[in-house]
């Protein structure tokens, strides 16, 4: 193994949080920063135009990590045998510079204030004895108010488009009036509305609900951010989620952060470097070891190590490196690997009389309902502790993925003449209302190393133990009721569950890429792996960013919260840690 020249900071993973931290450190200090990225270089916007191909990118998932090299295994409970996830289904880990931030859809909502104190909030509201069995939700150790300025920074950086509903306590029409208090309006106005959105808007107002534009990082107008990065308005081409933007209208790390880093003398980006271990001695991280694209092994010594890889891999790297106390679900001891959460993604298919022109659209283009995201009225939703963001979106659909949605009973077979006729007839008249609901953490949902299956190097895979409980099924049932009511009020024929929570967690169909936990943050080393500054409790020169630090998953999408927490960590690192290295909490 070749020992490289030591650097001040090594960051594992060149996605949203890794590059954001690199940008903050290299622009505010003279420290040398190396980012190691497993995948290749990022494609730039003009090149992305030649990649607007549904088959290769939306179906074969060309922007994702090659699952042949590494995957995870899954089992529903400790009693079951795990099997490897052999093909991508329920989530899509990105690869290459920019990571999942290149292929994301751009939805940029904040989490609700109560999410950050969820354990206290639910105990206070319901009493401990009423909470679901084995519930493991925790407070984050950081509050919404702590994060608010950083949320604002992240919104300005990406140029999020939206309409505020609550600025400094003043409630504003058209925005989400039930959101946390904001300091200022969104940097850009909402997009124009698609036909589907216009139907959703009218129907939900008629039903007495409060629709608002989903905040999104696809630009509604040309925009220059405070860092001086200029990006053009989105063209609504419909090739957004699972694609890179062909003009740079969608905020991606490669277009929004990388240009600020590339010419910096104290910044080095090394793609094609697969980090295998964090090297440590006597409670101190000394660097990382990695294998490059040619198979050569290196040791990169560093004063500070930051893990910013896609959420599951941070947990895996710590387990492989034997840092921290692996979680034991039978005794509820240990912290590393606990609180694995995903998302309750549940929706219904809608069928309309008129065409929707579903091929038009943009990432995050859509409306959500403010009414069911957090606390729910227990009269309407008995036993449902947290709700979800109910949405109608026009993300842009390709003909392969959207072909074959037909109302039940229209064709006996799913092939042949009758089916073909029905599928062509209903093509472009099918839409959906989907909920992205919060997922509570439970003792029995966790991660450890798989004893059988290995990656391409022979290192053990991460094993997920995860299943739905009665609570998620109640959430899904309640949200479906609302979705059906709105769908009917939109004049649609409603039928069939889109994606959805069924009897058991299923890895074969897409739900969301919002997998969280494993290296969670919190206010005590007994219950969490990192402190509220995202610094490892037991190894002060090791920091971890991203979704792996979420104690549970909130309603809606997580990216903006990851970025806000990273901005806050960067402040703590630059203002406190650099001056006096050591534990900040």
């Amino acid at each position: 193994m070749e020992r490289l020249k030591p650097v001040d900071v090594v960051i594992v993973g060149g996605g949203w949080t890794g590059l954001l931290l690199a940008k903050e450190i290299t622009s505010r200090t003279s420290l040398s920063v190396v980012v190691l990225e497993r995948g290749g270089a990022a494609a730039r916007p003009p090149e992305n135009a030649t990649k607007m191909d549904e088959l290769d990118y939306n179906i074969r998932l060309r922007m994702m990590q090659n699952i042949a090299d590494e995957t995870v295994t899954h089992r529903h409970s400790r009693k079951d045998a795990a099997a490897p996830v052999r093909q991508y289904g329920s989530f899509h880990p990105g690869t290459g510079v920019g990571g999942a931030g290149e292929h994301w859809g751009g939805v940029s909502n904040r989490f609700l204030p109560e999410q950050f104190i969820l354990a206290s909030h639910l105990r206070q509201k319901f009493g401990s004895e009423k909470l679901p069995e084995n519930i493991a939700v925790q407070d984050w150790g950081v509050t919404y108010d702590d994060l608010e300025p950083y949320y604002g920074q992240a919104e300005l950086m990406m140029g999020v488009c939206g309409k505020a509903g609550n600025i400094k306590g003043k409630l504003l029409e058209g925005g989400n009036k039930l959101e946390g208090v904001r300091s200022f309006e969104y940097p850009n106005p909402p997009h124009k509305m698609s036909y589907l959105m216009s139907l959703f808007q009218k129907a939900s107002v008629d039903l007495g609900y409060q629709p608002y534009p989903i905040p999104t990082a696809t630009l509604s107008q040309n925009y220059a951010n405070p860092d001086g990065i200029k990006r053009p308005a989105c063209l609504c081409c419909g090739y957004c989620g699972r694609y890179g933007c062909m003009i740079g209208a969608k905020a991606q790390p490669s277009t929004t952060l990388l240009p600020l880093l590339e010419n910096k003398k104290n910044f080095t980006l090394r793609p094609g470097c697969w980090v295998r271990r964090v090297v440590h001695r006597n409670g101190k991280a000394e660097g990382v070891s990695y294998t490059d694209a040619s198979g050569k092994e290196f040791l990169q010594p560093a004063d500070v190590v930051v893990l910013s890889s896609w959420t599951l891999n941070n947990t895996r790297l710590l387990l492989l490196s034997a840092i921290g106390d692996p979680y034991d679900s039978t005794t509820n001891k240990g912290t590393l690997g606990k609180n694995l959460t995903h998302q309750v993604s549940h929706g219904v298919h809608l069928y309309f009389d008129k065409p929707l022109n579903n091929f038009m659209g943009a990432g995050g283009l859509g409306l959500g309902l403010a009414d069911f995201e957090g606390d729910l009225n227990q009269k309407d939703a008995p036993g449902v502790m947290v709700g979800g963001a109910i949405r109608a979106t026009s993300g842009g659909e390709g003909p392969i993925g959207s072909f074959g949605r037909i109302p039940e009973g229209e064709s006996k077979s799913n092939w042949g003449s009758d089916w073909k006729k029905a599928a062509i007839n209903w093509y472009d008249r099918a839409g959906e209302i989907m909920a992205e609901a919060a997922h509570l953490a439970y003792r029995q949902n966790f991660m450890d190393l798989d004893p059988v299956y290995t990656d391409k190097f022979g290192d053990p895979l991460l094993r997920l133990t995860l299943d739905w409980t009665e609570h998620e099924k109640r959430q899904a049932a309640f949200l479906t009721k609302i979705e059906v009511a709105v769908g009917k009020a939109m004049g649609a024929k409603v039928g069939g569950i889109a994606r959805g929570v069924h009897e058991h967690y299923d890895v074969t169909y897409y739900q969301s890429t919002h997998v969280q936990g494993g290296v969670i943050m919190g206010d005590s080393p007994e219950r969490s792996v990192v402190n509220p500054w995202l610094q490892h409790w037991h190894m002060p020169n090791l920091w971890i960013t991203g979704g792996s630090t979420f104690p549970q998953n909130g309603s809606g999408n997580p990216t903006l919260t990851m970025l806000a927490a990273t901005y806050r960590a960067a402040d703590a690192f630059v203002n406190r840690y650099v001056k006096k290295p050591g534990a900040l909490a």
């Binding site: 191909d53 699952i67 490897p84 698609s194 090739y239 003449s417 073909k420």
Partner: protein, 221 residues
């Protein structure tokens, strides 16, 4: 070296189809009538005839428009199987291979090439010569197999993917749906056409970008 095999297709819809020879060199087929003979990359000629016949039953050419035959779906499938996808380069294929619960999906060892070769046995060597009803019966009795699942999925993909992949010849699939292709902008249209169809003449990615484009299946390691 494997003997080169060919398939002959009706060419009325294959105008402007870009095809690749076995050596990877692109050439353009511009036949507007009669039939055209294309080199196969994976199937033998008789295998291709069976698979083409099965695709045609899944997505038939009928009174509701053209089907798998006119779109050249067989060419699409042949190229997918010959490429990295057919060899499972993007699937986790380390053992042990075990039966698991349905929520874990396909756990088998066989790659798409092998699944198709098994499937051809299920269809029988005489499949292309059977009448429609007999072909349907034989497909119906294999509906539960992984082969049929892949065949149905690939037929839809071959109908509606960009013609760079070998199917959707002459953009016939997109015309059938009114899908315009990867158009660069709907900025002025997104909030108009409420409840009205916007149906532009479809264009392929190559036509829209004015650049040669290449599918993932053409990459060889």
């Amino acid at each position: 070296m494997k003997r080169r095999e060919f398939i002959t297709l009706p060419a009325k819809c294959l105008g402007g189809l870009l095809v690749y020879s076995l050596s990877g060199m692109p050439f353009r087929v511009n036949a507007q009538q009669g039939s055209v003979t294309l080199p196969l990359q994976f199937f033998t000629a008789s295998e291709a005839r069976s698979i083409a016949a099965a695709c045609e039953r899944i997505f038939p050419s009928d009174q509701n428009g053209p089907g798998a035959k006119e779109a050249g779906v067989i060419i699409y499938i042949d190229r997918q199987l010959a490429g990295p996808y057919g060899l499972d380069r993007y699937r986790y294929t380390k053992g042990p291979f075990v039966e698991s619960v349905p929520q874990h999906g396909y756990q088998g060892k066989k790659n798409p090439q092998e699944i198709y070769r098994d499937g051809l046995q299920l269809l029988g060597a005489d499949f292309a010569e059977l009448d429609d009803a007999s072909q349907d019966n034989r497909l119906r009795s294999n509906e539960g197999t992984m082969f049929f699942k892949l065949l149905r999925t690939h037929t839809i993909e071959g109908m509606f993917s960009d013609p760079m992949h070998g199917g959707n010849a002459g953009l016939i699939g997109w015309q059938l749906l009114g899908y315009p292709g990867p158009v660069m902008s709907y900025r002025d249209e997104i909030d108009k056409y409420y409840g009205r169809p916007l149906r532009r003449k479809p264009m392929s990615l190559e036509e829209i970008t004015g650049q040669p484009v290449k599918g993932w299946e053409q990459e060889r390691d």
